[in-house]
Each structure stands twice: as structure tokens, then as C-alpha cells.
Symmetry: C2
Subunit: 244 residues, 2 copies
DNA sequence: AGCGCATTACGTACGCTGTACGTAACTAGG
DNA sequence: CCTAGTTACGTACAGCGTACGTAATGCGCT
């Protein structure tokens, strides 16, 4: 009556880690695809048409199979997302750390940022990340290797890694969301900026926000996103650096 | 033929900031609700049943009106989200900064954290935040007031505020997501931890991740989420503090 | 005073989603 | 060889955001 008798049923009544599930059990027809095939198809769609286009129907069509066949490989859509994140995790190039943890963590961050630019949907899927996929484990181990030269407990090291990942996800997520919003506007960027600027200006001019008004007076110049990102990381690393 | 002749049509073909739109134009029947009524109804639903229960149909039912009537007040669902975030922004209690920017920013962060615990759906809506709602402006101005004692340009102050908000959102978002996941499990938390732990243990025991293995050996003790949060903020503020 | 029209209200309908369920074809283990 | 467990997939359902059409409403202008 319980999950014992139905080993590979669509939805189990017992916890399951997708990475622990074997791809093939032996009985039954030979599966037409591997999990990697499915992940790749989903990644292709997300890269080309955005995360919103990743539906069970589209992925199935991309693979050339029926929609419901996907559920033999992936119990819920959430798991498909996990497959996607793990798949692009393979793109992380690891190296032999040379003993400078600050430089290494910065390099990790920049590489992750580049990866997110290649796959702009990644930040949106990073919040509900809870599993330890194979490539996530590989990535974590590499970060720990980078921190061999860091003087602290593993607890602190994990906090440092979490902080760097969090900042990268947040910053790049914002950068990409802004770019995406501009791309999807049904009108021109100039019109958008004009309307929003007019509203903001009218609010600030009301006198209710004197410091905001002063801030707008300050000579800003164009924003260099990469420099902002770099500064943010430097500061975060400063916060963990006892020698500073 | 263009948006000029249809001043209050459902969807404009010209940019629009919802906060600049007047609640009442004069002509036509008196609206049955204010924007605040709608925001409150949506917030009530989100608090009680989660963000997923915030649908146009449910909000309309909560207000006691037809589904499509909502679109007279809110052009798209995304704007409803913006109303919600602004509505809870009213809960921020502001104070007169006394000249210690570190203490004040920490207090801001702790207050925001408490607000997010009261409204666990807030972090999920913070990523696509782009508008400057009335309460967001009020909040920003207050942060700037807290930073009067901070020696730096407004540019740097905005970077500091963005960093603090980002860290708060990320950390509290993770805390809440974990709690929510546990709450929604179709099986017990012990079962879940046992299965995930077994998988993780088997991976680590494979020898492929020696540092992860060492980390598991380290005596950890229970995790104090509030202490982790506090440490993260201290470190971030350290990174901006020239006196340290 | 009363006409005209912008606005509100809302029922209906469409295309889309995730996925439960039933059935037929297939294949490895006993 | 038989049979149990698996794969494949068509059908179906509930729910979503929202476009559109129609009826009722009441302010502003003549």
C-alpha cells in the first residue's frame, strides 16, 4: 500500500533525492533519453526564449516526445529546474588554488557572473536551491579548496561562500532583470525613462525627500556595472579579511 | 486611435507609473474600492495562504467583486505585487538618526527582517522591484538620513543601502524558504533529513570531496539563524567602514 | 436641466499551464 | 517463457492571466 511496492511510480510518498535515483532500473523498455538530454533541451529553450518558455510541453516538443513522457524522468517541474542548474554548473572551470583566497574567490565570483550572463535565467532559479547536485558539490569543494589559505573554521568558510554566492546572484540578477525589462518594453527605453524620471522628479521636487533631491544634484556619470560589482565583492571580502 | 483618446483604458500603449495615476478622474460611477483596499486584501491573502494564493480571482472574491473589475484598478498582476510591497512598506517605523550610521543601518536591517517574518512573501517580490513607490521613497530617504554621519558620496551611500537590502533579502529569503519547505513537506522533516543526509553522506564518503568530508567532521552545533544574520551584516558594514 | 461620454462593473471566453490517470507496448529477471 | 515493472503518451481537469463586449452609472458641459 505504501511506496515499497511501486519503486518508480510518478510521485512517491517518501522523500527522494533525484540525484540518488538510478537512471535505469533494468526492467521495461529502454528509456529514449538520459537526464542530461532533458536538461540540455530545457537549457536550450531557456537560453533562447527565456525561463517562461520552459514548460513541460515545450521541453517535450524539443525532445520530440509526448508531454507526459517527461514525467518518467522528472517527477515535478521543480526537479527539471534542478537539472537545469546542475547542467550549466558543468561550465564552471576549476583550477588549482595557489594560496591567495581573496584572489581565488574573486575569480570564482567573476566566473559565476560570466556564466549567468550566458544563461540569464540562472539567478531566478538560485533562490529555491536546496539540493546538492553533483556539480554543486564539485563547485563547493572547489570553493573550499580556494579557502585552504583562509584562517577560520569550516563554519566560517561556508558563511563566506554563501555570502559571495548571494551577492553575485543578487547583483547579476538585478543587472539582468534590468536589461531584460528594457528588452521587453512595448515602447522605447527613452519613453520609459522619461515617464519614470518625470514621476520621480515630481516626487523629489515636492520637498518631502531632501536628501534624495541632494543626491540627484550630485554629478553621477554613467554607471559601470562591472565596477559596481567589483566594488561590492571587494567590500564583502574585506569584511571577512582579518588582515584588513 | 492612439492612447490619447482613451485616457483610462485597461492597457496603455504608453509608459505609465501606477503611483502617478490618479485614483479618481471624475467621470463615471464612483469606484467601489481604493487602491489601498485592494492592496490590503491581497496582503491578507498572501499572509494567510501564501503568495501562490494571490490570484486575481481570489483577491476579487476577498473584496466581493467580479474578477475583471480588478483590472479597473490594476492594469496587470505585476502592479498588484507592487501595491502589496508598498502597502507593507508602511510598517517601517522611522526614527531620528543620532549620528551612528552603523547602528542605524543595523537597526534598519533588523526591522526589515522582522517585517519579512510577518509577511514571508516579501522577499520573493523584492527581486523584480524597480518602481519607486511612495513608501519605498520614504524608506530610502530614511536610510539616507541614517547615513548623514557616513563619510562618502551619495553614490557610495546608495551602494551601501543596496548592499544591506540585498543581504537582508537574500538571508531572510533563504531562512523563510527553508521554513516554508519544511512546513509543506508531504512527509516528516526527520524522513526528509534522513534521506538527504544519506545521499549527501554517500557522496562525501566516496572520497571525491575531501574538504566537505572534513567539514562534516567539524563540531557544528545547532545553527542560530539570527546570529548568522547578525554576523553577515556586521561583515558587510565592516566592508564600508573606513575606521576599521 | 439634461445630454453625452468616460468610467465602472462583470460575465464569458480563450489559450495556456502543471499534472492525475488509464492504457498499450516493451523487456529483463525468475 | 511468463510476468511484473517500466516506458510512452493521449485524454482530461482545474486553475491561471486577461482580452473583449455589454450594461449601468454619474460628472462636466452646454
Amino acid at each position: 500500500m505504501a511506496g515499497l511496492a511501486t519503486p518508480m511510480a510518478g510521485h512517491a510518498d517518501v522523500p527522494e533525492v533525484i540525484w540518488a535515483r538510478p537512471e535505469r532500473t533494468g526492467r521495461g523498455p529502454r528509456p529514449a533519453f538520459t537526464r542530461a538530454d532533458i536538461a540540455d533541451a530545457a537549457v536550450r529553450i531557456a537560453d533562447a526564449q527565456g525561463l517562461g518558455a520552459v514548460t513541460m510541453r515545450h521541453v517535450a516538443a524539443e525532445l520530440g516526445c509526448g508531454t507526459m513522457s517527461l514525467y518518467n524522468y522528472v517527477p515535478r517541474k521543480e526537479d527539471l529546474y534542478e537539472l537545469m542548474v546542475d547542467a550549466v554548473g558543468a561550465e564552471h572551470e576549476l583550477w588549482e588554488p595557489a594560496g591567495d583566497w581573496r584572489a581565488d574567490m574573486l575569480r570564482v565570483a567573476r566566473q559565476t557572473r560570466a556564466l549567468m550572463y550566458r544563461h540569464p535565467w540562472v539567478p531566478a532559479l538560485m533562490s529555491p536551491v536546496y539540493g546538492f547536485s553533483p556539480h554543486a558539490l564539485r563547485y563547493l569543494e572547489h570553493c573550499l579548496a580556494c579557502l585552504d589559505s583562509f584562517d577560520g573554521t569550516y563554519g566560517t568558510k561556508f558563511e563566506l561562500i554563501a555570502m559571495v554566492n548571494g551577492v553575485v546572484t543578487t547583483y547579476v540578477g538585478n543587472e539582468l532583470a534590468t536589461a531584460e525589462r528594457v528588452r521587453a518594453l512595448p515602447w522605447s527605453e527613452e519613453q520609459e525613462n522619461a515617464v519614470r524620471g518625470a514621476y520621480l522628479g515630481s516626487q523629489v521636487a515636492s520637498g518631502a525627500y531632501p536628501r534624495m533631491a541632494a543626491a540627484f544634484m550630485e554629478d553621477a556619470g554613467p554607471i559601470d556595472l562591472e565596477a559596481v560589482f567589483r566594488r561590492a565583492l571587494d567590500r564583502v571580502l574585506d569584511g571577512f579579511d582579518p588582515s584588513r
